[in-house]
Subunit: 218 residues, 2 copies
Amino acid sequence: MKNRENIPKATIERLPLYYRCLDKMDTFEDIDVVSSKDLGGKLDIPSTQVRKDLSYYGEFGRRGVGYNVNELKKSVGKILGVDRMWPAILVGAGNLGHALVNYKSFSMMGFEIACVLDNDPAKIGNMINGKKVQDIKNIDKIVAETDIKLGVIAVPTDAAQVVADEMIDSGIKAIWNFAPTRLRVPPEIEVKNEDLAVGIVSLIYHLSWQEEMETKGE
Amino acid sequence: MKNRENIPKATIERLPLYYRCLDKMDTFEDIDVVSSKDLGGKLDIPSTQVRKDLSYYGEFGRRGVGYNVNELKKSVGKILGVDRMWPAILVGAGNLGHALVNYKSFSMMGFEIACVLDNDPAKIGNMINGKKVQDIKNIDKIVAETDIKLGVIAVPTDAAQVVADEMIDSGIKAIWNFAPTRLRVPPEIEVKNEDLAVGIVSLIYHLSWQEEMETKGE
DNA sequence: TTACTGTTGATATAAATTTAGCAAATTTAA
DNA sequence: TTAAATTTGCTAAATTTATATCAACAGTAA
Ligand SMILES: NC(=O)c1ccc[n+]([C@@H]2O[C@H](COP(=O)([O-])OP(=O)(O)OC[C@H]3O[C@@H](n4cnc5c(N)ncnc54)[C@H](O)[C@@H]3O)[C@@H](O)[C@H]2O)c1
Ligand SMILES: NC(=O)c1ccc[n+]([C@@H]2O[C@H](COP(=O)([O-])OP(=O)(O)OC[C@H]3O[C@@H](n4cnc5c(N)ncnc54)[C@H](O)[C@@H]3O)[C@@H](O)[C@H]2O)c1
């Protein structure tokens, strides 16, 4: 395996796609062997890219044959760390928080929201998907007791930095942030910003341009 | 302006960040002029990158001075197409659908969910954020009458392709897809996949590696 | 005026990422 | 056995994207 540091970020973001696809083939489609061409075909990724991505981590295929689906799934799962469950705390039992907590398919990716926290007395004590919403004041105790490393921020933008600080103080090591703001965190804390507006705006950008072209053409 | 085709995808995804930041400065912070260094600083983007991104579309700053916040905001808004509202239909009034429909801040990015559709009789007729959930059967009529171009897919994976086909048949031109699957669409249809699992798995990947390193170190 | 600091935008350079090409390995079929 | 067809994984090339450099310009203060 190459030095883990200089593996392209884009490669790491394609691995979960391979993983999900392999799981589907393995579990539901009864496919034993797959070529890089077929796997890439399902995901609109060139076969050369698939092979290159995998080659950063080792040799998983057999020349002239392809990849064993079940084996490759396990290998990729191990590379990603999804061969075990990673419990998380989620802060912000609002609209988005509810959706995330109720979502079943995360478990397939090794992710599980184990605790839900909020600061609104009207929400504390409520049940969401079998979990009782707890007071954010207890975050230190909760994180210490459960040894959870992952935090999800689903609070309004204004509260995101405060919540991030509380998470880090409590011992959280990695943050999945849905608030549209950059968090200031120490360098050892990993942050992934899930900025949904970027997605829709890039669609609007193309649509808007398309429409402008059409207008010109007339 | 350069040929719009060969502007980096990454640039287009940074523009919404600039836009939101400029809007905040303009509306709430009463800042008139900003340098690429300051703007980049707020977003963890190098000033050279900010200037390069903007330079694809023209000259917006004054040497020795910086950028007029309000002017640049308007220019970037126009580039992105968010200087007008883009109404959308959303299909799938479930957990995620609810969150998206209730989310207020999309409007600032020119995005608005105008209609909500579902195929579950138990959901049709319900109100979400002042909008009545409509029967997916009426999609053709709805899209034709409203001339909506944007569709949001928030249905289970299994139903995503069917819904995409229905959208395209009805006249939808661009699809924001939350289902974790690749949609097969004609080339003229724009699709943006919002695959949340990728985000959390890339966090797990880092966390998992970190933990492995620590274990080794002991 | 003049020197000094700060800033843009263009061009040049460097780095990262993707794509192509091909030898080696494997299977299939003649 | 041998030839043809596949398919991997390595290396090299091409492409894309990011970063550095610097002349031109603008403001400020001596
Ligand atoms: N809803 C969406 O579809 C959507 C889309 C994109 C981004 N987001 C972002 O996700 C975040 C949450 O959005 P939402 O729509 O769920 O908001 P929401 O208002 O529905 O929920 C926010 C929750 O956070 C809680 N909260 C506020 N301050 C807190 C604090 N200091 N400590 C603990 N809990 C606190 C509130 O009590 C509330 O329950 C926001 O940052 C939003 O910008 C949401
Ligand atoms: N909830 C989350 O946090 C989350 C996270 C990541 C991805 N997703 C994805 O988003 C999608 C929606 O997730 P969810 O949790 O809201 O699911 P959900 O089950 O809560 O809601 C799905 C809705 O779609 C409707 N529906 C099903 N088939 C339909 C059809 N053919 N036409 C019209 N409506 C139909 C259902 O009636 C239901 O209201 C899924 O693809 C899921 O994988 C959700």
